[in-house]
């Protein structure tokens, strides 16, 4: 059977189970689009290629699968870079297909030529320039295999126009198996016996879970482990939802804007079991002062994460789900003694920290507090919405005041911190989960970075809800200026912003606004029940801060509390 490159690409995508692509056409990919519309693959036409990648990211996280993008060469390709870098930092499986100028023009500075393979080398898990049509099917299969296996990540495939149009006899690809890529899924059992021994001995243990638990779908195993061994749990920003926030063992998030008790526990614990984390500086603060009394166990599928930032007593390379499964099996046979007695001192200490300082704010009668909006949003969605975020204070308040019980419900640009992530990510999540309420918790600054995607939401009937915590500032930067730069608010006041209600209407969405506390519930009720995309503009306290806060580079016990 003779097929063109474009036809082979469609076959390969179908083979990988792709049913949705986020993309934007152009000259270099026009032949792919010509084939795409003949298939049953759904194409979501975004308004900016950055939006396509964030949408694919949101789709991947909400669905647990691989997100796929298709863009043209040159500017189409360069517009994807921020999205790719964000997905790389957060280990999100994506396949990005870029058009390229015809092979014979590569290197000639042809129209819309850019070396996207070179540009994205440091921010993809791997990338390819396809040189012959005969390699295409195999490369697409490898790209998906690499994206979703091991520590997941984005893979880019650059397709020159002549390869797309070349005709060849189609051979189905061999099962992807690569001698140079072989992630370690199964942990070393010897190490696990040591872990069990530490769990048995520990008086003040703590679990610190991260995005790896969500990526490996290990939340059930994690919950079973924590409950069986009676170990309190914290997570990173990326780990929210890996452990139920309604469980008594839940400590809240760790790190710069983590809870008081979580950070205190880290300093006081004698055993820290880190699972699917990479000890980012926003988590550890000053590394020398991080968990100074603890033996540290670190479970991760990526060996480079282990001992990169923090010394570890027991490294375990393996998939989180498989590893926790083994640990739980071993624990079945283990006599852990009277745990409630053994842990009573530790739990009393934690209860003391909790009583001393909880996440709190005071909602007065005149001005809306941003935290109040999130708390109401949590209540009115029964804690079941998928929350995406922009970046800044809005992101941290969403993390602190919305409580996540399930994975795939908190979707944020954690590692790269990309303003403009939330709206396209919400669109992707809504495509993956049409029956879910999907809310982008936004700042007035961030939302303007990809607001054009409202048109995408309207065109495709995706009823995403945008909740703007409108403080008139680039609030998080302003907060740093308030605390560390003597309130010199250099260039952080957004003196002019569009009227978000009118803007929503101009896009064909619903626009709502609340300026007083008593209006918050009504606006949320109306916005959440609308069957269309909605922007809700909450005019909030301008100079509210996110607390607790650990100043960058300080030990995480040095928290500013108000």
């Amino acid at each position: 059977m003779k097929l063109t490159g474009a036809q082979i690409l469609m076959k390969a995508l179908k083979q990988e189970g792709v049913n949705t692509i986020f993309g934007y056409p152009g000259g270099a990919v026009i032949d792919i689009y010509d084939e795409l519309v003949k298939t049953d693959i759904r194409h979501i036409l975004v308004r900016h290629e950055q939006g396509a990648v964030h949408a694919a990211d949101g789709y991947a996280r909400a669905s647990g699968g691989v997100g796929v993008c298709l863009v043209t060469s040159g500017p189409g390709a360069t517009n994807t870079v921020t999205g790719i870098a964000s997905a790389y930092m957060d280990s999100i499986p994506l396949v990005i297909i870029t058009g390229q100028v015809p092979s014979h023009l590569i290197g000639n500075d042809a129209f819309q030529e850019v070396d996207i393979v070179g540009i994205t080398r440091p921010c993809t898990k791997h990338n390819y320039l396809v040189q012959k049509v005969d390699e295409l099917a195999q490369i697409i299969q490898e790209a998906f295999f690499i994206a979703r296996s091991g520590r997941p990540g984005p893979v880019l495939v650059d397709l020159p126009k002549d390869v797309i149009n070349a005709v060849t006899v189609y051979h189905p690809p061999k099962k992807a198996k690569m001698r140079s890529y072989n992630p370690t899924y199964n942990p070393n059992m010897k190490q696990l016996h040591k872990v069990i021994e530490l769990v048995r001995m520990a008086r003040r243990p703590m679990i610190f879970a991260g995005g790896g638990v969500i990526l490996s779908k290990a939340h059930k195993e994690l919950t079973a482990f924590a409950r069986r061994a009676q170990i309190p749990v914290t997570t990173s920003l990326m780990g929210l939802g890996a452990f139920p926030a309604t469980d008594p063992l839940w400590l809240g998030m760790i790190g710069m804007h983590g809870t008081y008790r979580s950070n205190k526990c880290t300093a006081g614990c004698d055993l820290l079991i880190a699972i699917g984390v990479r000890f980012d500086d926003r988590v550890t603060g000053k590394t020398d002062a991080f968990a100074p009394q603890a033996q540290i166990v670190h479970i991760d599928i990526d060996p480079t994460s282990i001992r990169k930032n923090i010394p570890v007593s027991i490294p375990v390379v393996g998939d989180c789900r498989i590893t926790l499964g083994h640990i739980n099996k071993l624990l079945e046979k283990e006599d852990l003694g009277n745990l409630s007695e053994k842990r009573s001192g530790w739990f009393a200490q934690i209860a003391g920290w909790k009583a001393k300082t909880q996440l709190a704010y005071e909602q007065g009668t005149d001005i809306i507090k941003p935290q109040f909006v999130i708390e109401k949003l949590y209540q009115m969605t029964d804690g079941e919405a998928i929350i995406t975020t922009e970046v800044g204070q809005n992101q941290m308040w969403a993390a602190q005041y919305y409580h996540f019980n399930d994975p795939g419900h908190f979707i944020t640009s954690g590692g790269l911190g990309v303003m403009g992530f939330g709206l396209p990510a919400a669109i992707g999540a809504q495509v993956a989960c049409p029956d879910k309420v999907v809310v982008d918790v936004a700042g007035d600054g961030s939302i303007q970075m990809n607001i054009q995607e409202m048109a995408t939401a309207v065109q495709f009937g995706l009823p995403v809800k945008v909740v703007i915590l409108n403080n008139g500032y680039l609030g998080m930067v302003r907060q740093w200026q308030e605390l560390f730069y003597e309130k010199c608010y250099a260039c952080t006041c957004m003196e002019h912003a569009p009227d978000f209600v009118k803007l929503a209407e101009a896009f064909g969405a619903v626009g709502l606004r609340a300026t007083r506390p008593e209006a918050v519930e009504d606006v949320l009720a109306e916005g959440l029940s609308a069957k269309k995309p909605v922007i809700m503009d909450f005019v909030v306290e301008k100079e509210e801060g996110v607390y607790p806060m650990v100043p960058a580079g300080k030990p995480i016990t040095e928290m500013l509390l108000v």
């Binding site: 140079s180 480079t304 001992r307």
Partner: protein, 163 residues
């Protein structure tokens, strides 16, 4: 303070375009140091061997090796430092060779088992191989006589077989 030491890494990679750039990019992007780098095909023409000499303390070198292993096109990373291995470097040294120094140069080259590979009325070009210590010793002797130009390959290395 952890001590900074030289480490010789021998890396087998897929012989494909862009692989060298991935490795060089890894070192520059993460702030690791490359003292020398050599690359050529192996007996299997799908595979190339890179020999990299890097400097760093033990945790950094551990991280370098893990990061290299993580690259999809890297097949195997061996650290030679700490084991028995042979390493060699080739240098071409162009000397200014006036009548009064020509004999002296030849004597030195002979001691180091080098060869003269190009001769002119005013110059010699010397070819010499050896480990780093040997080349440094030779250069120290030749420098006062007048080195015009020098080209060095950087080290290549292989494990010694157990006896």
């Amino acid at each position: 303070m952890l001590s900074e030491e030289k480490h010789v890494l021998s890396i087998l990679v897929d012989n494909q375009p862009g692989v060298l750039s991935r490795i060089a990019g890894l070192f520059s992007g993460r702030g690791y140091n490359i003292e020398s780098l050599c690359v050529a095909e192996t007996v299997d023409d799908n595979v190339s061997r890179l020999t990299i000499v890097t400097q760093g303390n033990q945790p950094v070198v551990e991280q370098v090796k893990k990061q290299l292993n993580k690259l999809i096109n890297v097949i195997k990373v061996h650290e030679l430092t700490g084991s028995r291995y042979v390493h060699r470097e080739l240098a071409l040294i162009k000397m200014s060779a006036k009548p009064d120094s020509r004999a002296e140069i030849l004597r030195i080259v002979d001691i180091f088992r080098g060869k003269i590979v190009d001769v002119g009325p005013e110059h010699y070009t010397i070819e010499v191989t050896g480990d780093e210590g040997k080349l440094e010793a030779l250069l120290t002797l030749l420098k006062p006589i007048g080195i015009k130009e020098i080209a060095r390959t950087g080290a290549i290395a292989l494990f010694r077989e157990p006896k």
